[in-house]
Structure formats: structure tokens, C-alpha cells
Symmetry: C2
Subunit: 354 residues, 2 copies
DNA sequence: GCGGGTGCGGCAACGGATTGCCACGGATTG
DNA sequence: CAATCCGTGGCAATCCGTTGCCGCACCCGC
């Protein structure tokens, strides 16, 4: 089934058939109707390959995520899919499994057959990303890369609200369970935490960095024991849930003894007990926004390369945070041993010391 | 950059360049070397579009999953990606968000640009699937569809082992938390449970069906209260985890009062407390196997349309199952009210009544 | 020395849609 | 009434590899 078959059936030239589908309005309404009739009586469907070959547009965009299993990315991907299919565009999803090498390989494979790329939670270096961005329209999601259009949640504001919330509950000694050191989000969250803490005259102790999963959070909960801390903020919800679990394992009650705050508001955050107070980032909206920006670039828009698009966040208060108990700031648990390696990794930081 | 540019630079015809890349051995080694040199000094890369146009092979396969957020699918997808990239083939992933309509839409969009499809956890009807299978190579994953190549875990054996495990621990009154009624896996698991229970002379009560997530499991835990049941099997781990959580909320201890078994062995199964005893399906291997089968079909193999490929499973015993306590079979908890709707939905089944 | 076989490169015809340019007819305008 | 203009459809070139077929040259063996 080609346009030629349809053309013959409709009694027009092939070019007219082509224009009927790709250039609405260019052909007379009656002719168009006749063509369409012929087309679907023959069951004709335009071939993306041939079209791509002629237009050098594939109508596909790639989304690279570092871990499909992570609900945060799953939600972003949904946003991307929604925006893409609204624009009649197919998405090519690739998982890099947290590996730089795999990410490059996936990109290499996908790049030639797509019109543009959304990079979500990339593990590549800024400069590597810039190189790609020179070749194809590209938007970075969840990270700001200079000279490349980026869409990021307002991590600074989110962290500030979380800290203010804890301060309002009387907490003055905070712990922060850090995520991957190389992560851009980690940098912005930590900086904002530090700034806000300074401003409000709170003490803060940094733990980690940990692998940003539940197991990492449980390990971090171990470290916590030795310090007089009444509230913990974590880089993300997985870590926070790990902390919740780890603390319970050590007999520390949340939120009575220690308050815990996460980041991202993944689905599990409201299912755990106690429900996790966390900072909600508009993941779906972010994915959609990044995609719309990308599609605009593909259509020739300049690509806002200046400052990144910042998405609003909000603090979702659940049961894992409460008024600081006045009786004690340190956990009642007996064992407060800190493993040597953990002690070494943790960087004690007085907020006033900047 | 086209093969013509490369041809000129290497002093050969364009066809020779083409053959150098697509027909290794067809050109003389020295010539090939010269061509390759020219190619990468010019930075030439073959365009998938043009190739696809000429060969009517895109080198892409589509994977449709019903929910990217579900770790089970995430793992399958990884298996697919591994097998696909081993074969030099790109994966087009689409999420149907548990919706038949979206699944069709995604398929419609993806189908014309891929060489074949892996359908994982499809929500479509068997007949709809057969229709697609007539048009393009297709493999169904995690479900058996007559006349269509399928790859499924050995649900029957898995369930049997789980039940035997519980019987061995002295449990004789079982509960089953059902998944979606329309699910093929639900059917096979329930049937096997029934058969095994009959054989071992155990009583079994079916609860649900529930939405197969944690919340659904918690609701099922409510239902459980009214019955004298010492062990619960769930359709999947999410439900089982929900049951765990729900029972704890009602003051029932696991595994002291009630044993719980899940299905799938998702990552969270070993992180929850107590660790969940569950049936592990080789998700990654399944994805890879389905993909290899699909690629073989694309290469012209007949496509084993007879009985489905069955993957071995194994029971992973953790802390959520234990010897039946002799003092009591019913939970100590006070409130045993069952909501009317729940009572209505639950189908009491005596194993001997078949 | 000659016929046959084989290895290897070139020519040219595809594949299916898009699009610049032209032509034709009817409507508008001076 | 003639000069334009616009709307619309057709012609043909183009996008970039792939591949069937041909021919050349070289090697082998009889």
C-alpha cells in the first residue's frame, strides 16, 4: 500500500495524496475527502520510515533515564509520554542502569533515529552533555547544565520549606542523609539546607553520601545513633524510608523521638508507617514541560539556553514529623556505636562556620 | 555525510561502501579497510532511516508494559533491553498505564516503526492480540495466548511449592488474596492453589479480587480478620506487603500468628519487615527469552506457536512464614468486622467441593 | 593454452513519501 | 476586454542506502 495505489484509486496524482495527509488545507476539501475515502478503503497507512527519509524528521524523541525501576523516573517518563503523544510523537525510552557507559551506549544507539533527547537524571558529565546538545535538540531534566536547556524542580525552595517546617516544630539539631555526591540535586539540596539552617541558627550534620536507596537509608540510620539529632532530612524518599526502617530497628520512635523528612514524594511515601513528610516535586509536569520545550526546539525554536526552567514544589506534611520532644534529643537506644568508615565519611558541619 | 561522500574519498563505488558495512566479507579486506578509514575520517554514520527504508527493517522492537512504575515490569524490560542490544537492536518502550485504550493507542503508534513487539502484562483481549500477531512478529510475556508465542513463569509449580511449604509448617487453613480477575496469572495461580490444596487436604478461602497494590493488600487484611486462617498467600508481592502492613496495623503478628507468602520476589520483598517469603520468577531471563524468540521470528523463524515457554521459578523463604502456632488459628485482635462489600466479594471455597 | 570457476567492484533500479516549480482554469480587477 | 492573481493539482527530483545482476580479472586444472 503506497500513496501511488491510493492516488490511482482516487484518480489523482501521488503528490496530492501526500499533501492530503501532510499539508492539510493545501488540497481542495472535496479532493481531500475523496483521497481519504480511497485511503481507508484500501487500508493505507503512511510509513514513518519513508516519511522520515524524505523529511529528515523521525517523529520520535528519546528519553534516557538512569533507572526505570525508580518511581521518580517512572513518573517523569509518564509526563514525557503524555506531552509527546499529545504532539503526535513517539518516545524511545532507554534505561542506563545508573551507568555512564551504558548511558553513552544507549544514547549512541538511539540518537540517530530521534529528533531530540530528554536526559533525565543523567550520569554523564556536563561537558559530554554539551557535546550531544550541539548535535541534536536536547533538554536536561532534573539537573541544570550550563548552555543547555534544563528543567529542574525548585530544590532550594523545597529544602527551605522542609527546614522551616522542622524549625517551626522546635527542632534545632538536624541531620542530613546525603545522596550521590556527583548528583546535581544533591548539591542544590545540601546548599539550600545549609543556607536555611544558617539563617535560622540551626545545627546540621551531614551523613553519607549513601547510595540513594532504602538500604542506604538503613545504613545511615546506624550513623545517626551517635549524635544528638532530633530531625533528619534525606536526599530522597528511598533514603528517608530506609532511615525510618533503620530507626525502628534500633528502637527509635518516629516521630516521637526523631522526625524524618524525605524528598520527591514517591508513591511509597504515603504507604509507609508513619506516612513520610516529604517535598513533592511535580515530576509528571516536569517531564511534560521538558518535552514541550524539546518539541519547540525541534520545530526551530531557539531553545531557552539561559537559566533553567524551575518547577514549583510543595511540602507534603504527613506523620513522620512532629513537635520536638522536650525530654531528650538523643535516641533512647543503647548502642550508639558508629562504624569507623561511617564516622570518617560523615562531615560534621556547623552552620555558622561558612 | 552519505555513502557517496565516503565512496569518493575512498575511491570506490557507493555500493562498495554500503557492502563494507552491511555485508562483511563481501568486499576485499584491503578495500574494506580503506573504506572504513575514509568513513571515520569523515565521521560518517549510517542513517537508520535510509537503511530501514531500503530493507523494510527498522532494527527496533517495541515493548509494551501495563505499568512502568511496577518493578516487575521494570525488571522484564531490563531483560528485553539486554537481549535486544546484544542483537544490535533498539527498544521502543511504551507504557499503557493499565488501560486498554492507551495500550491500543501506544501500539498503533509504535507498530509501524518496529519489526516486532513484546507484550508484557497486556490488558487487551486474546483475540485482539491474535489480530496484531498476524500483522507483526509478536511475543506475549507473562501470559499465555493461544496460537501466539508466549513466555510465562511456571506459576503452577510456584504456587504448589508455596502451598507445600506452608503445609509443611503445619498450616491447614489458607487464605488467598486474589489479583485482578481478568489476569491470566491470577487464573493459573488460583487454579494451582486449589489443586494443591485439594491434594493436601487443606482448606482455602479466596479473598478479593483486589487491585494488585499495597493498598489492596491492606484492605484484604481487613477481610482476613473474620476467618480462622493461619497462612495467607497473595497474588503478588505488593498485595502481600499490603497484607503484612494491614495485619500489623490490626495487631496481628507475622509470622507468629499468621504466615504470609507473596509472588514475584520484587526488590521490596527483602526490605520489608519481616522479609517476605515469595515465589521468585526469573523476570529478567523471561524478558530476554521473549526477546530472543521475537528476534528469531523476525529473522524468519516460524515462531513456536504451540505451548508457551515455561520459565522455572523458585520459592524464596524469608521471615514471613513460620511453623503454625498451636495455641490459636485466629488472630487475637478484637475487631473482626468485615465490611459488607468485602464479605460479598469474598468467595468461600472448600477445597473438597470441586 | 584454454575453458571454467570464483572473488570482487560497479551500475542502476529500487523503496515511499515530500516538495519546489510549473501549468491550468476561473475569478478579480483596471 | 485584457492583465493578473489565486487556488489547486501534476511532474519530477530528491532523501540515502541496499541489492540483483553484470563484467572484469585472476587463478586453477586439464
Amino acid at each position: 500500500m503506497t500513496i501511488y495505489d491510493v492516488a490511482r484509486a482516487a484518480g489523482v496524482a501521488a503528490s496530492t495524496v501526500s499533501r492530503t495527509f501532510s499539508r492539510p488545507g493545501r488540497v481542495h476539501a472535496d479532493t481531500a475527502e475523496r483521497v481519504r475515502q480511497a485511503a481507508d478503503s484500501l487500508g493505507y497507512r503512511t510509513t514513518p520510515q519513508a516519511r522520515a527519509h524524505a523529511t529528515t524528521r523521525t517523529g520520535m524523541i528519546a528519553v534516557l533515564v538512569s533507572d526505570i525501576g525508580n518511581p521518580v523516573y517512572a513518573e517523569m517518563v509518564r509526563g514525557v509520554q503524555a506531552a509527546a503523544s499529545a504532539a503526535g510523537c513517539t518516545v524511545l525510552l532507554a534505561d542506563s542502569q545508573e551507568s555512564d557507559r551504558q548511558e553513552r551506549a544507549a544514547l549512541e544507539r538511539a540518537l540517530p533515529s530521534v529528533d531530540g533527547v530528554v536526559l533525565a537524571g543523567s550520569r554523564m558529565s556536563d561537558s559530554a552533555i554539551r557535546v550531544i546538545a550541539k548535535q541534536k535538540p536536547l533538554v536536561v531534566l532534573g539537573r541544570a547544565v550550563g548552555d543547555v536547556p534544563s528543567v529542574v524542580p525548585d530544590n532550594g525552595r523545597g529544602m527551605r520549606e522542609a527546614v522551616e517546617h522542622l524549625a517551626g516544630l522546635g527542632h534545632s539539631s538536624l541531620g542530613y542523609v546525603a545522596g550521590p555526591a556527583a548528583s546535581w540535586a544533591e548539591g542544590t539540596r545540601w546548599r539550600s539546607l545549609l543556607d536555611t539552617a544558617t539563617e535560622l541558627q540551626l545545627r546540621v550534620r551531614r551523613l553519607g553520601p549513601s547510595t540513594p536507596d532504602v538500604a542506604g537509608g538503613m545504613r545511615a540510620a546506624e550513623e545517626l545513633g551517635g549524635h544528638s539529632i532530633s530531625a533528619v532530612l534525606a536526599y530522597n524518599d528511598q533514603l528517608a524510608i530506609g532511615v525510618l526502617r533503620g530507626l525502628r530497628g534500633r528502637g527509635v520512635r518516629v516521630p516521637e523521638d526523631v522526625s524524618v523528612v524525605g524528598f520527591d514524594n514517591i508513591g511509597a511515601a504515603e504507604l509507609v508507617t508513619p506516612g513520610l513528610t516529604t517535598v513533592a516535586a511535580p515530576l509528571h509536569a516536569g517531564g511534560a514541560a521538558a518535552t514541550r520545550a524539546l518539541l519547540a526546539m525541534i520545530d526551530g525554536a531557539p531553545g531557552a539556553t539561559g537559566s533553567p526552567v524551575v518547577l514549583p514544589v510543595r511540602l507534603v506534611v504527613r506523620e513522620s514529623t512532629a513537635q520536638r520532644s522536650r525530654k531528650s534529643t538523643s535516641p533512647a537506644s543503647g548502642t550508639t556505636k558508629v562504624s569507623p568508615s561511617a564516622a570518617q565519611a560523615s562531615t560534621s558541619t556547623s552552620a555558622g562556620s561558612r
